[in-house]
C-alpha cells in the first residue's frame, strides 16, 4: 500500500526510449555540489542527451543544518539569529517573519517607528539582494564584469546596515517587539546618497546587460514557466510574478507600512528568463521608490517594546505568517505548547526550497547553457533550500 522507499540510485536510470531521432545514449552528470554555477552546494543530477537536458534531479542536504530542530531548543528571541543564516541575502525579512509571528501570537502592537524602520531596511536589503543576483546572473552567462559591478554597488547598501546595525550580512536586527538598535544619526543622509547612487547604477546595468543582444538571446524564450505550472509548483516571488501572476504579499496582504506607500508590482507575461530578469531589475527601481517615500517620514517613538531579558511565552496554538523576501514567500509555522518560552515546533516555508523544483519543468529540452541561465534566474540561495 505504502509507496516503496527509494534511494538516489533508483532514481538515476536512463529512460528506456530516448527521445531523439539519432541513435544516442543518455548519460548522467553531476552538476555540483562544487560547481561554479550552483552558487554554493546545490547538486543537480542532470540526465543529458548530448547537450540537451532530459531531466534535472536536485539532490539536497549538503548544507542541511537542522535549523528547525535547533529552534526547538532555543527561545524565540534566540531563534531569530538563526534565520539570518537560512536566506542570508534576506536576513532582515527572515528576522521579521519570526518577530511578527511572535508579536501576533502574543498580541503585541508595535509602533509606527518600528514598522517604518523594518520596512525601510527590508527594502534596502531587497535592493542589495537583487544587485548581487544581477551580478551573479551576468557571471553565470559568462560576463564577469557585471558580477563585480553588482558586488561593488551592493557595498554602498551594506554600509548602511553596518552603520546602524554593526553587521553586513547576518544581522539579527529585527526582534520580537522592535528592532535591536535605533537608527544611526547618519542613517537618513547615507541612505539618500546610496539610493541616488543605486539609481545611476541601475541605468548603467540597463546599458551594460539588459539591452545586450547576447543577454537577450540567452534569456528570451528560455526556461518558460507558465502561470499554471508556476502556481501548481508552489513557485513564489519574482519567478511567479514573471509568469504573469501579480501575487506580491506586499500588495495583497500588506504588512509593515507597505499599505502606505505607492509602488507597482513588476510582472512578466511569458515566464521566461527574460521576464524573471526584468522583474527583478524593475523591483530594484520600485524598492528605491518605496524607500524614498518613507525615508523622510520616519516618526519618532521607541524602538524596542519588549524587555530583551524577559521570557516570551506564547499561548498554545499553531501560528502561520508569511512575508515576501527577495526570493518569494517565506512562511513560518510556529507551534507553541503554551507553557515553555521555546517553540514546540518551528517550520520555515522557505521560498527557495519550493522554487527549486520548477527547475526541472523549465529546463527540460533546453541546452546546458539554458540550465545555467535558469538556475541563475531563480536566484537560489542554497542554505535556504536545505535549512
Amino acid at each position: 500500500m505504502t509507496a516503496p522507499i527509494r534511494t538516489l540510485d533508483d532514481r538515476i536510470r536512463p529512460s528506456d526510449t530516448p527521445d531523439s531521432p539519432l541513435d544516442t545514449q543518455e548519460y548522467f552528470i553531476n552538476m555540483g555540489p562544487q560547481h561554479p554555477a550552483t552558487h554554493g552546494v546545490l547538486r543537480l543530477m542532470l540526465k543529458l542527451d548530448g547537450e540537451t537536458i532530459r531531466e534535472v534531479i536536485p539532490v539536497l542536504g549538503y548544507i542541511h543544518r537542522g535549523i528547525e530542530k535547533m529552534g526547538e531548543a532555543m527561545t524565540y528571541r534566540q531563534f531569530v539569529h538563526l534565520t539570518d543564516r537560512i536566506d542570508y541575502l534576506s536576513a532582515l525579512v527572515n528576522n521579521w517573519v519570526v518577530a511578527r509571528g511572535v508579536e501576533v501570537a502574543t498580541g503585541t502592537e508595535t509602533n509606527d517607528r518600528i514598522e517604518y524602520i523594518r520596512t525601510i531596511f527590508a527594502e534596502i536589503e531587497r535592493i542589495q539582494s537583487h544587485m548581487l543576483w544581477w551580478g551573479v546572473l551576468g557571471m553565470d552567462l559568462g560576463a564577469f564584469t557585471p558580477f563585480l559591478y553588482g558586488f561593488r554597488d551592493r557595498e554602498t547598501l551594506t554600509d548602511i546596515f553596518e552603520e546602524t546595525i554593526g553587521c553586513r550580512l547576518t544581522m539579527n536586527y529585527i526582534q520580537p517587539g522592535g528592532v535591536m538598535h535605533d537608527l544611526h544619526p547618519n542613517f537618513v543622509k547615507r541612505t539618500k546618497a546610496a539610493l541616488a547612487y543605486s539609481k545611476s547604477k541601475l541605468h548603467e546595468y540597463e546599458e551594460l546587460l539588459s539591452g545586450n543582444v547576447i543577454l537577450q538571446e540567452r534569456t528570451r524564450d528560455v526556461g518558460i514557466l507558465s502561470a499554471e505550472d508556476a502556481v501548481a509548483l508552489g513557485v513564489t516571488g519574482p519567478p511567479l510574478r514573471a509568469s504573469g501572476v501579480a501575487y506580491d504579499l506586499r500588495k495583497v496582504e500588506p504588512y509593515g507600512v507597505y499599505d502606505r506607500v505607492d509602488f507597482r508590482t513588476a510582472v512578466g507575461s511569458v515566464g521566461d528568463c527574460w521576464d524573471r530578469y526584468w522583474v527583478r531589475v524593475e523591483e530594484m527601481r520600485q524598492s528605491i521608490h518605496i524607500v524614498e517615500q518613507l525615508i523622510d517620514n520616519i516618526p519618532e517613538g521607541k524602538t524596542m517594546l519588549m524587555k530583551p531579558a524577559k521570557k516570551i511565552v506564547i499561548p498554545e496554538g499553531v501560528y502561520y505568517n508569511q512575508m515576501e523576501t527577495a526570493r518569494g514567500i517565506l512562511g513560518m509555522v510556529l507551534v507553541s505548547d503554551g507553557t515553555s518560552d521555546k517553540p514546540y515546533r518551528i517550520h520555515l516555508r522557505s521560498p527557495n526550497f519550493n522554487n527549486l523544483w520548477a527547475l526541472d519543468a523549465m529546463s527540460r529540452g533546453g541546452r546546458l547553457g539554458d540550465l545555467v541561465a535558469n538556475v541563475s534566474s531563480l536566484d537560489l540561495v542554497v542554505p535556504d533550500i536545505d535549512r
Binding site: 501548481a232 496554538g317 499553531v318 502561520y320 536545505d386
Partner: protein, 173 residues
C-alpha cells in the same frame, strides 16, 4: 460541493465558527472540525480517511480554488501518540488561506499523497518523510530529501536521539 444547507446529524455545536469557509466545510461530509488552535488563520482538522477527499475538494471547487500548497509540514505530538500533518493552503485567486491539520498514528504514520493535486507536494512530502518518517501512499518518488538515504531515524521527532546531539546546558567539546 459544499452542502451547507444539509446539516450533518452528528455535527457538534461549534462555538461561533470564525469563518464562513470553515462553517461550510464543517457542514460538508468530510468529518471536518474547527481547529481552535490555528491562531489568526482559519484552520480545520480532518481525519486521515477523509484527508485526500477534503483537499481535492478544496483544490477543485471553483469558489475555493486553493491552487497553491504553500507549505506542508508536520508536528510530532508524542503525548497524543500522533503526528499532525499540517497543510497550509493558499488561494492566489481569492487570497484566502486555510490550515488543514490531520493527525496520523505516530507508530505507523502514513497518509495519502496529494502530489496529484499540487505537484509541489511531491517534495514537501519528501521533506516530511525525511524528517518525520511519515510515508505517503502512492507517492511517485518517496526518498529522503535532505539526509542520506541510509540515515537512521527521523530527526524532527521529539524522541530522536543521536550520538552527537548536545544538551543545551553542556558546552560542546
Amino acid at each position: 460541493m459544499t452542502d451547507a444547507d444539509v446539516p450533518s446529524p452528528d455535527e457538534p455545536a461549534e462555538p461561533t465558527p470564525r469563518n464562513p469557509l470553515i462553517e461550510a466545510l464543517i457542514a460538508s461530509s468530510y468529518g471536518v472540525t474547527d481547529d481552535p488552535l490555528s491562531g489568526s488563520n482559519p484552520g480545520v482538522r480532518v481525519p486521515v480517511e477523509n484527508l485526500y477527499d477534503l483537499l481535492a475538494h478544496l483544490r477543485s471547487e471553483p469558489s475555493l480554488a486553493f491552487n497553491c500548497l504553500l507549505s506542508h509540514t508536520a508536528v510530532d505530538r508524542p503525548a497524543d501518540g500522533t503526528i499532525e500533518l499540517l497543510y497550509v493552503l493558499q488561494s492566489l485567486s481569492t487570497g484566502q488561506r486555510l490550515l488543514v491539520t490531520c493527525p496520523v498514528n505516530r507508530d505507523n504514520a502514513s497518509a495519502p499523497t496529494v502530489c496529484g493535486l499540487w505537484p509541489i507536494a511531491e517534495w514537501q512530502e519528501r521533506e516530511v518523510f525525511d524528517l518525520f518518517g511519515v510515508t505517503y501512499e502512492k507517492h511517485p518518488d518517496l526518498r529522503r530529501v535532505f539526509l542520506d538515504d541510509d540515515w537512521r531515524g527521523y530527526p524532527l521527532r521529539k524522541d530522536y536521539q543521536d550520538d552527537f546531539m548536545l544538551t543545551p546546558d553542556e558546552p560542546k567539546q
